[in-house]
Assembly symmetry: C2
Amino acid sequence: MAILGFLRDFPLHGYDLKNRVASLAGHVRPIADGTLYPTIKKLEDAQCLTRRTAPGSVAAPRHMLEITQTGTDQLRRWLRDPEPGFITDDNKWYVLLAFLHHLENPREQALVLSRRREFLDQPAQLFFDAAGAPIPPELLESPFRKGLMQIHRSTNLTEIDWLDRQIAELNQRAGYAVRQRGGD
Amino acid sequence: MAILGFLRDFPLHGYDLKNRVASLAGHVRPIADGTLYPTIKKLEDAQCLTRRTAPGSVAAPRHMLEITQTGTDQLRRWLRDPEPGFITDDNKWYVLLAFLHHLENPREQALVLSRRREFLDQPAQLFFDAAGAPIPPELLESPFRKGLMQIHRSTNLTEIDWLDRQIAELNQRAGYAVRQRGGD
DNA sequence: TAGATATACATCGGCTCCGAGGTTTAAAAA
DNA sequence: TTTTTAAACCTCGGAGCCGATGTATATCTA
């Protein structure tokens, strides 16, 4: 998804892609050569991208990669209907968010944000005692577990706040677009 | 790490472990049977845990798992000197945090927190233009990328704040312990 | 009493990804 | 001039994990 997402902005060669994916770091660990190049080949075989050999600006020749219509469609499908992990796994979610603007319909964008919003709404019960009963944060002995839950709650609230504002804005824009087209 | 970490609190059987790991969800995706049971066997072969067959409380007999001294040592090594991914990958970091109390020395605990603190200090440069120059958040066209960076900064500050307070407290406690032993 | 459900454990094929190694090309350093 | 460094690409073996599938047992439901 990150490969096609970056290529959707402008053509890039593999080495450049690698650095861009790596610098989403903190969210995504740097991608290894052994992952990147086979994946590029796979996307090429699936006609999601084309490559043109160009002279390297500094050294060895580059393979400039360009996304195709098929690739754009694939990217949009991934964004529109993301696998569960892309909603529940923070790392994956942030990747999705980084490219969600490529899904041009605001209503569809809002729908994806809503899925995340719904996920964040679930109360986090992280720790249980020997009998299986949940332990409330204030009864946790470990200050690290206490901090973990504090941070979790706080960051969740931050994101929920942003999500709600964003969803409202997107829906408003979608509604406005509908009214402009003269009807529902 | 999660398996040994949970077992360090009290003995558990595989099925129970599975649920406990799964309910760290949001941070960790539920662990699959095909992952859990081979891992348990691996830990048993490495003498990190022992199993006793006990009658199941509801149905089939259980294998009650108990951590050994070897297992405790292994867990402490993992916690004391975590692989880079456990510092930089949020999911893994939260797992580590959930069991850091098993590393009993406050100075060692503070050291681990400091590694995370140092990582969070790095300024996040997530997006670059076609020429390779970093794009400042306010110039990003995508509201999602803007939100991504906002959330990232905000949650980082929250965690940094907690880390600083926690590190200070741990170092104070370590210093107090040293003074009590009558030394340096 | 038959089937469905939940507990509890286990295996196996397949997929993804990584890390180590290797190649080519140009520029910089020795 | 030779070596080193950095850019740029590629491959292969192995590790880790998942999903499907299967087994046994006790309880709940039809």
